[in-house]
Every structure is written in structure tokens, then in C-alpha cells.
Amino acid sequence: MAIQVRGVSKRFGDAVALEDVNLDVPTGSLTALLGPSGGGKSTLLRVVAGLETPDSGKVFIDGEDVTGLAPRDRGIGFCFQHYAPFRHMTVFENVAFGLKVRRRPKVETRRRVSELLELVRLEDLANRYPSQLSGGQRQRMALARALAVEPRLLLLDEPFGALDAKVRQELRSWLRRLHDEVHITTVLVTHDQEEAMDVADRLAVINLGRLEQVGTSAELYDNPVNDFVLTFVGPATRIAGRFVRPHDVTVSREPGPDGSFPAKVTRVTHLGFEVRVELELELESDDTWVQLDRDTARDLDLHIGENVFLEPRDAPGALDPNGSVTRLPAPDPEDALNHAHA
């Protein structure tokens, strides 16, 4: 294991940032810490980096207890959300900084920085200042700077948060390729589930300072341990107080054998392959929506004002195994952890 987090808790005044978090990050993996803003994921990353000291608990890197070590002794590379470029230094000097303060020979520093600038495709901009770079270029400079000291771990705090959509997409796949090339254990923080699913091979969902679930994106999507994970990872819709995937609902004109809900179609939107149907449930006149594929929608030929029946299908793990219509129990941290380590 590259990183082992054991029972880490952290408070800022009265606010709980992390509560008894346990997390394993395998060597060479690309893990995303995913969760809503203020959920504690950045704090967890900063605890691993040594930029925050946990109130309790321990952090191990490659089996070594680093809880009491300063950031510079942990062998990490850290990229800040806003890149934290050294504004008074050129791109070259920024990337060379870590080697310079470690007093590496000049020739070696020059060679290594040139290599890294080539890797992040900034070799032509080596003499520019950060203020003269675009957001994406600054991000890549920050990555090169973090990689220069040959860290055991690469920690990225919202690496694509401040970029526009197109650049974000490009950098995302670039980071993926970089990780395949360099194979350095990488942990990134993001609030964007799509980004996390796209880039990372493992996702750790964090909410309200607790680790809810860890797994691949397929595991989280198909077997969420609680409503929070279900609603946060992937689309979710609510039918009679219970959350389901909007494509895991059967729409028919006849009532099903058990547990189907009468509803009135209020809107049908054709989005290419996907057809989005908005409905009003008879029960409590709740609004909901379901997702149909094009063929199913054509067969059904739904019209506004029509009465239909909705039957949530049992997606694996997404629903209560008993098939009851009651809401799933509130997330239990122990349960989440068991799942996380399963």
C-alpha cells in the first residue's frame, strides 16, 4: 500500500472536517477523492501531504509512519488548486525549485527540468513568468514542478477545477496518459463525479468528513452502499421516497404484479439516444423523471397527460433487497467502511 490512513480525525474549531477516516491507496493507482465541497476531501489530501496535522490517527506512506514528518520529508509532490506558482520565477525556475533547494548539481537540474518541461509540453515557454501562461499551462507547470523532486506520491487538489471545459477534458486524458507512463501513485481531489470516473481507477466518496465508500466507478454506480453514494455518483431519481437510477425504472400502461406506482406524464424530451420523461406521481403528487432509450420510448409512444405505471427494477445493490418501498436506512459509517475494505 502506498498510503494507509488510519483513524484520522480533524476539526477546525467546531467544524468536523474528518471523522475517523480509514483509507488504503494501492501503489501505482490513480485514486480520486470524490465528494461535495466542504466534505473534507481536500483536508484528507492535505493531511496525507503533511500540510495539516490530524487531531488523531496516523498516516503511513509505503509502510512508514509519516504522521509527525514535515511535508518536505514525506517524498510527495503536491499540486494546489490554484497551482500556487512562484510568481517571481520563470517556468524553468519554478520547476527547478525543488532540485535547487535540495542542492542537486546544476547540470543534473538543467537536464531534469528540460525533460519535465518536454513531458508537460512547456519546453518553449521555459523563460515565461506564470502570469504569462494560460490556466492549463500553469497547471502543467505545477505538475512538472511537483514531479521534479521524484516524489513517491503525487497529490492533486482539484487539479482541473479552475479550467474551462475543453482544456479540462484535454488535461484529464493527458493526466491519464501521464499516469500510465510514469506510474506514480496519484491521489486527486474532485467534486466532479464525471471527472473522477473518467480519470481515476479507484474512487473514494467522502461526505461530511466521513468516508462513505471506496471502489471502482462501476462498483460505486452499481452497488452504492447508501443513498448518498447513489445520488452523488451518477444520476438518480426518486420514486415514492426511494432513490433509483432513472434508467432502472420500467414504464408501462398496465400495473405491475407488485409495487408499481401510477403517474401522469408531464413532459417528454428527446435527447438523441436518451429520452427523458418527466412525470407526476399520483401518490403525494411528487415530481419525478425516468430515462428511456429511443426504442423503448418509440414502442411506448408516450403523450403528455397520459397515465402510466412506474416500476423500479432491482438494479444490483441499488435497492433494498426485500423490495420494500421504504427508504434505505441512513448511512452507517461502519457499514461504509466494511464496504470500503471489502
Partner: protein, 329 residues
């Protein structure tokens, strides 16, 4: 002389006002009487503001300072030059001594307050400790207290009969009525400037760059020298400039603590005052002019280095067009 200067300045202000009105209107299509009314209102506001600023500065600053220069050279340039080199005139032992003393005091007090100011600013911006708010308040105290009172309070403590002064005097060290006292007073009154210039800069740049340096392997000293200090250099430069100007111009505190002994503890400001009191007006004007010139040189040095940096920055930015964002594997 103001008859010569003032109308000239006002003339410029008027031209500037008109220019402002024209600029405001330039490149905009006429949008009818309503837009024209707004434009003329804008012209009035802008022109009025400019006129006010220029007249205000002229009456308070430019005219009196210009008058000093004018009066100093009133007898003619050759006369002034003779005065400057003549041992009987400005070239007297007293004037040279006052000039040297002033520079020596500044050379000690300014670095002292620079180190203190930077240290205090870092302490206040980066650390929370008991008494930090008190420190924050005490730093401003020298601005609030009248310099004369500062002088008396220092005298109270550092006089040969004072609390600390008597202890030091027993060991042969005299603070009051000698150069250490003048340095002390100058340092006291100029405490806030560096700290107050640097503190907001530190708060604005935040701690991320310092944290980044820490993750990259820099120790606290390396982070200070390579990241923090370079980041605040302009704040420090402004602070040093203000501190220097303040130290050079200090009169009240220095006048009390120094004892104002001619040729011994007489700084340049005291010299000007004493010459004025002795009806040696040309001497007073010349002294004042020298003070003003030194202060202007300090300000000039600041803007020069600033321009130099921004020019080198601009040339660096000019050489490369905006880079491509595309990443090919």
C-alpha cells in the same frame, strides 16, 4: 514667484480637463440629447475632479516646495553655488555636519525598522499568538503620538537620570543629547511604515506559495529567502522609501532628545530651523532644498527600479506569442 507658477499649473489643469472630456466621448456614436447630457455631465465631473486635485496639490505641495527652490536660488545660481562651496556660507562645518549626521541616522534607523517591520508583518500575517492584536495596535502608536511627546517620553527613560539612561550612564553610555538618542527617536517615529506596507501584501499573496515550497523540500529559511521575501519586495521597497522620508524629515522628537546642539546633535531639519531662527534665510532655504533633493532621490530610485523591472518583464512577455493549449501525446 507664485504668480509665475500658479497660473501655469492651472492652465495645465484646464487643458487636462478638456482632454478628459474629449476622451470620454471618443469612439462613441452620438446617442441623442440624453446621451449628450450624460456626456457633458461626465465631462463636468471629470474636469472638476481634475481641477480640484491639481489646485489642491499645487496650493499645498507644489507651490511651497517650489518656493523653497526659488528662494534658495533667488540671489542667482552663481551666488548659490558660491554659497554651497563657501566655508562661510552653506559649506560651513555646521551644515556638512548636519547633513552627514542626518544620513548616518537614516543609515541606522531605516535598516533597523526594515528588519523589524518585515519581521512584525510576517508574525502578524502568518502566526496567531497571544498578544498579536496588541502588537498590531502598538505598531501604529508612533503615528498617533505627537513627535514632541515621543521625544519627551524617550528623554524620560533614556536621560542620564532616566530609568534605563541612568543604568547606561553608569556604564559610560549616553543616549540622550547624543547620536544614539537621535537614532532611537528616528526609529521610534518611523516604526509603522515597513510593517504597514508589507502586511497587506503578505495577506494578499496568501500561504499557498510557501506551502508549495515546503512540499518541494524547502526549509523555513529557504522559504523565507526564496519565496516570501521576493514576493513582498515591492511592499518592502515602498516601506523603506516612506521610512527614509520620515526619518530625514523628522523634527519634533529629534529636537527634544538631541538637545539641538549646533555642530554636534544638529540634524538637517534642526539646521534649517536654527538658520531660520537666526535670520539666515538663504541658509535655511538651501538646507531645506538639500532635504527635498535627498527625499526626491529616494523616491526617484524607487520608481526607477520599479520601471526597470516592469520593462524587463514586458520585454520577456513580448517575445513569445500566446502558447497553444493543445496536448498531443
Amino acid at each position: 514667484m507664485s504668480v509665475v507658477t500658479a497660473p501655469d499649473t492651472l492652465g495645465t489643469a484646464d487643458a487636462g480637463g478638456t482632454g478628459g472630456g474629449v476622451t470620454a466621448n471618443r469612439g462613441r456614436p452620438d446617442r441623442g440629447p440624453r446621451a449628450r447630457g450624460a456626456a457633458s455631465r461626465r465631462f463636468l465631473v471629470r474636469g472638476g475632479l481634475r481641477l480640484f486635485t491639481v489646485v489642491y496639490l499645487a496650493m499645498l505641495v507644489a507651490v511651497p516646495v517650489g518656493a523653497i527652490a526659488y528662494k534658495a536660488f533667488a540671489p542667482g545660481f552663481s551666488e548659490a553655488w558660491r554659497d554651497l562651496t563657501n566655508p562661510e556660507g552653506l559649506g560651513t562645518h555646521d551644515f556638512v555636519h548636519a547633513l552627514v549626521l542626518t544620513l548616518v541616522v537614516a543609515a541606522i534607523a531605516v535598516p533597523l525598522n526594515t528588519v523589524f517591520g518585515v519581521g512584525a508583518a510576517i508574525l502578524l500575517a502568518r502566526h496567531r499568538f497571544p498578544g498579536s492584536r496588541l502588537l498590531d495596535a502598538v505598531i501604529d502608536l508612533p503615528i498617533a503620538i505627537s513627535p514632541v511627546v515621543v521625544g519627551f517620553s524617550l528623554l524620560l527613560v533614556y536621560d542620564n537620570t532616566g530609568w534605563i539612561g541612568s543604568w547606561l550612564a553608569a556604564r559610560g553610555i549616553h543616549i540622550a543629547f547624543s547620536i544614539p538618542g537621535i537614532v532611537l527617536a528616528s526609529a521610534f517615529i518611523s516604526i509603522p511604515y515597513v510593517a504597514r506596507e508589507v502586511l497587506p501584501v503578505l495577506q494578499e499573496i496568501g500561504t499557498e506559495q510557501e506551502q508549495a515550497a515546503a512540499t518541494l523540500g524547502a526549509g523555513p529559511l529557504q522559504t523565507l529567502m526564496r519565496i516570501t521575501l521576493p514576493s513582498i519586495r515591492w511592499g518592502v521597497a515602498y516601506g523603506v522609501t516612506l521610512t527614509t522620508a520620515r526619518v530625514l524629515g523628522e523634527f519634533g522628537a529629534v529636537s527634544v532628545i538631541s538637545g539641538n546642539i549646533q555642530g554636534q546633535t544638529e540634524t538637517l531639519t534642526l539646521y534649517v530651523s536654527n538658520q531660520f531662527g537666526n535670520y539666515n534665510l538663504v541658509g535655511a532655504y538651501m538646507g531645506g532644498l538639500v532635504l527635498a533633493v535627498i527625499a526626491l532621490m529616494v523616491l526617484g530610485l524607487l520608481s526607477l527600479s520599479k520601471r526597470k523591472e516592469s520593462r524587463s518583464w514586458r520585454s520577456k512577455s513580448a517575445e513569445s506569442p500566446s502558447g497553444s493549449e493543445t496536448l498531443s501525446p
